[in-house]
């Protein structure tokens, strides 16, 4: 099965609303990264996390290594937040990052 499961797989948000994306891991992960892939295909770094939380503007992310999940909260969604969000977990079993399949987010006016 998938080692990193992202949910939801797709999401449509009204501008100005809030939402949360989630990654569940079935591997022993020590760090997590969140990326946003824009429609041109470029991957932007959003967060790099050890267990704990980080906040940057309207985005907030948490990583709980004991419960094996990470979340990304988007507050006051804007049109430019549209794209595909990926999480990647560092697998201590084989020393590689494992990516989820992504959450496709569309923010509508």
């Amino acid at each position: 099965g998938d080692k990193v499961k992202q949910s939801p797989s797709a999401l449509s948000l009204q501008e100005g609303t809030n939402s949360a994306l989630r990654c569940n891991f079935s591997i022993a992960a020590t760090t997590v990264q969140w990326f946003l892939q824009n429609p041109r295909g470029s991957l932007m770094n959003l967060f790099y996390l050890v267990p704990g939380t980080k906040e940057n503007g309207r985005l907030k992310s948490a990583f709980d290594s004991k419960e094996s999940y990470s979340t990304l909260h988007i507050r006051d969604a804007q049109l430019e937040d549209s794209g595909t969000y990926f999480c990647a977990a560092f697998n201590t079993g084989n020393y590689k990052y494992v990516f989820g399949a992504g959450t496709r987010l569309k923010v509508i006016a």
């Binding site: 790099y48 990926f86 201590t92 990052y97 990516f99």
Partner: protein, 114 residues
């Protein structure tokens, strides 16, 4: 800051052709990676290298070769392009190969095989 440069950005090949993609980084990072992304899917690791002249297979190494010529550059070769293949190849680097290494990505190279 630094940058990862991938060339070419677009590559069109013929079935059976050997095709090479190049990646340069000026972060002075130790570890470099090649990922493949198919349309609407996540990223899958092809090869990675933890230092100059090192090469490690990822989950998708069959059909590919790679070469870490120097610390700043990492090449990927598709040994025999498959007809109608279409994918984006993404190069990344990190300071270390361990869990202290944040990944940074290039802009991607889009492959189309006719």
């Amino acid at each position: 800051g630094g940058i990862i440069t991938q060339t070419p950005k677009f590559l069109i090949g013929q079935e059976g052709q050997k095709l090479t993609l190049k990646c340069q980084q000026n972060f002075n990072h130790d570890t470099m990676y090649w990922y493949r992304q198919d349309s609407g899917k996540g990223l899958r690791l092809i090869y990675y290298s933890i230092t100059e002249n090192d090469l490690q297979k990822g989950d998708l190494s069959e059909g590919y070769d790679a070469s870490r010529e120097k610390k700043s550059s990492f090449s990927l070769t598709v040994t025999s392009a498959q007809k109608n293949e279409m994918a984006v190849f993404l190069c990344a680097s990190s300071m270390t190969g361990g869990d202290t290494g944040q990944l940074y990505f290039g802009e991607g190279s889009k492959l189309t095989v006719l």
